[in-house]
Symmetry: none
Subunit: 401 residues, 2 copies
């Protein structure tokens, strides 16, 4: 279903929609036949809500596809995550809260070590401390090349986001990292004729960077990967007439939410409870809230089954505060699975709950992978959740007579 | 799956398929946690049939989309309801059993009231009685404009279907109803250059109508909305080699069935039993029967939960007559949901039952929303039902070697 089709059916309403995303929510049992993290958690509020909700399993990108955070979020926000690919450079820039614009081409930068012959001896410059990296980034900001403006935003240790801004810049550019030591960095090559000028600008920047960093061993040069522009998405206001707000403590999620035209709200503090406080404070100002819980994914990637269980229980303990706001539609889901036993994102579908006054509820007081697999929403693309949320919020008119 | 793909697999067979559509069948519980209309109904025959059938929930148009009758029926007939949009004017003409052809552009007409300055004072001309409307329609039939022939078909009170017929006419035309009083009607404007002549013809008709109706206050002019041609669909005979018949007491459904190339059978009487009698009378003459029950939707739109339950029970009581005919394939479904608690069409998926000799049956003697949610057909697009019916009727050859 095309977004334009949805857009023409939109009608105004006073209803409020909340999308509560526990990152990497889906899991696996610790041992075969056991319970997943979500099934293990003691979560009386989520289970009670499940009885009044429709359940299903969402597939973020496609069957068998393990999503990164970008595509996982685009899908749960209702966009096609394959048509709208977010490149690695753009994700790196979003991750440090850099507000990428339509004239920006971003790349993932590494400080690296070169020998006297210009051959790479360390692709990560000995993982220099972040403080050194920040000083080096500052010195790179002095570089000037005709046709573009540059931004260098430190990420962590040897990593930084590189952004070049200028009218008509292209991201059809090859990477400079040869992915091995003993050879010089590769030049940036235009992958399309229209990218020739952009390639030249990037190469001039790199040449100057090498001069600026000449005395800074081990970080005496840079590597750039994943040149990318942001896909241009129509936002929630334009598409759905929704005043949408995002609550997230990590830059990458704020960035993807900004792509969807959401207003990113400031959070005082870094706890999940702080995010719920932000939700309460801004409740009257928006129609749609995306609230992101990062800690489930972190626990999953650490392989800490018990920690992931505890994070889910913490969210469950906060749920009454959300329910007290009386949202018209509440979706609880994840952007992908991150089973602790895999210590990584995975391809498994994501347990999803849709609550609304006129939802056709299951009557089963259990929110878990297996309960969702038997749910009335079935196994469905994650991007189908948003249209259903809009419908249950009475924001979609009838199609046809 | 494209219809052309299906068409090339078609093989002849002697089997008979029945599509029993209870309009707006899907429902919601009266109160949270309760039973829906279908779940409440005492329906021993449908429940017994469910045990020998496959069950599922069909999505007529897309997730969250509330279908009108046109798109809901196109989907259950196996056509894509978004690609094949039926405009409001065309639906109005179908509703009065007007046989729209490929050269016809239809619109929804209203008689309206204008003041001496030509400003609208009542968009519905005081809802004049149908008898007056019929006489006025008769007088409009005298109007002649070069390049088109006109048909004026009264619907009810101030409403009529307006059809202009002529080679090369376009429906890319704007509406004349400003949707408010105190301003004059809008002229018809061509939305594409190729529609200029059609706009001119429509405007000449309206100008003459104003003269003809000048002395007929309150109905002294007309408004036209929703100009549309019928989408041209390949029919069941052409696609599937099916001699298909439609049994429906309401013009709109007869019209959509005619679009699919079905022969519309005359029904003696207006009861559901009368429709079953028609089915019996013509059993030997066709391969495919669509039997439409309007009363479930009417009850749903009235908000009469109990009436909807009783209509379902009435259909259940008639089911043995249908089963006595021994259809090879029987699909029981709806074109959309019309929960009594919403008093309107809704986006909720539709409980669907597929019976055939070689269906993989559930063994669960219950036909209801929740039973269908757990059914082996899953949650599926409504347009996928027809190919499955054809397969179970032994009318589809193997694909590939």
């Amino acid at each position: 279903m095309e977004l334009d089709f949805l857009k023409r059916l939109i009608v105004p309403a006073e209803s409020k929609i909340v999308l509560l995303i526990m990152d990497g929510l889906g899991g696996l049992p610790r041992e075969a036949g056991g319970k997943t993290e979500l099934e293990t958690a003691h979560k009386p509020h989520l289970d009670a809500l499940a009885a009044r909700s429709a359940l299903g399993l969402t597939v973020p990108v496609g069957p068998g596809i393990t999503p990164g955070s970008g595509p996982g979020h685009l899908a749960i926000f209702g966009y096609d995550p394959i048509e709208n690919e977010i490149g690695r450079g753009a994700m790196e820039a979003l991750g440090v809260d850099f507000e990428l614009g339509p004239d920006d081409v971003a790349a993932r930068g590494n400080f690296c070590s070169l020998d006297a012959q210009g051959r790479i001896t360390d692709r990560r410059a000995g993982r220099i401390p972040s403080e050194i990296s920040q000083a080096l980034a500052q010195s790179l900001r002095s570089i000037q090349v005709e046709g573009a403006q540059f931004f260098i935003e430190p990420v962590k240790e040897h990593r930084f986001a590189f952004i070049m801004r200028g009218a008509g810049l292209s991201d059809a550019l090859s990477e400079t990292d040869p992915q091995k030591v003993g050879t010089p960095p590769l030049p940036v090559v235009a992958l399309q004729p229209a990218a020739e000028r952009s390639a030249s600008i990037a190469n001039q920047f790199i040449a100057q960077a090498r001069q600026v960093l000449a005395g800074e061993h081990p970080a005496n040069s840079i590597l750039l990967r994943g040149f990318s522009k942001l896909p241009e998405l129509p936002g929630y206001q334009e598409l759905y007439g929704l005043r949408a707000a995002a609550i997230a403590t990590n830059g990458m999620y704020r960035g993807v939410a900004r792509m969807a035209g959401m207003q990113v709200l400031p959070v005082q503090g870094t706890s999940i409870a702080d995010e719920f406080t932000t939700l309460e404070q801004h409740w009257n100002d928006y129609d749609f809230f995306y609230l992101h819980v990062k800690q489930t994914d972190t626990a999953g990637e650490l392989g800490d089954f018990d920690l992931k269980v505890r994070v889910i229980e913490e969210v469950d303990g906060l749920l009454p505060r959300l329910l007290a706001l009386d949202p018209d539609v509440l979706v609880v889901s994840g952007d992908h699975s991150s089973p602790a036993v895999l210590k990584a994102h995975s391809w498994h579908p994501v347990p999803t709950l849709l609550y609304a006054r006129h939802v056709r509820s299951e009557g089963v007081a259990e929110y878990g992978e297996r309960a969702c697999a038997r749910g009335s929403l079935g196994v469905l693309p994650a991007k189908d959740i948003l249209p259903m949320a809009l419908a249950h919020a009475q924001r979609l008119a009838k199609y046809g007579a």
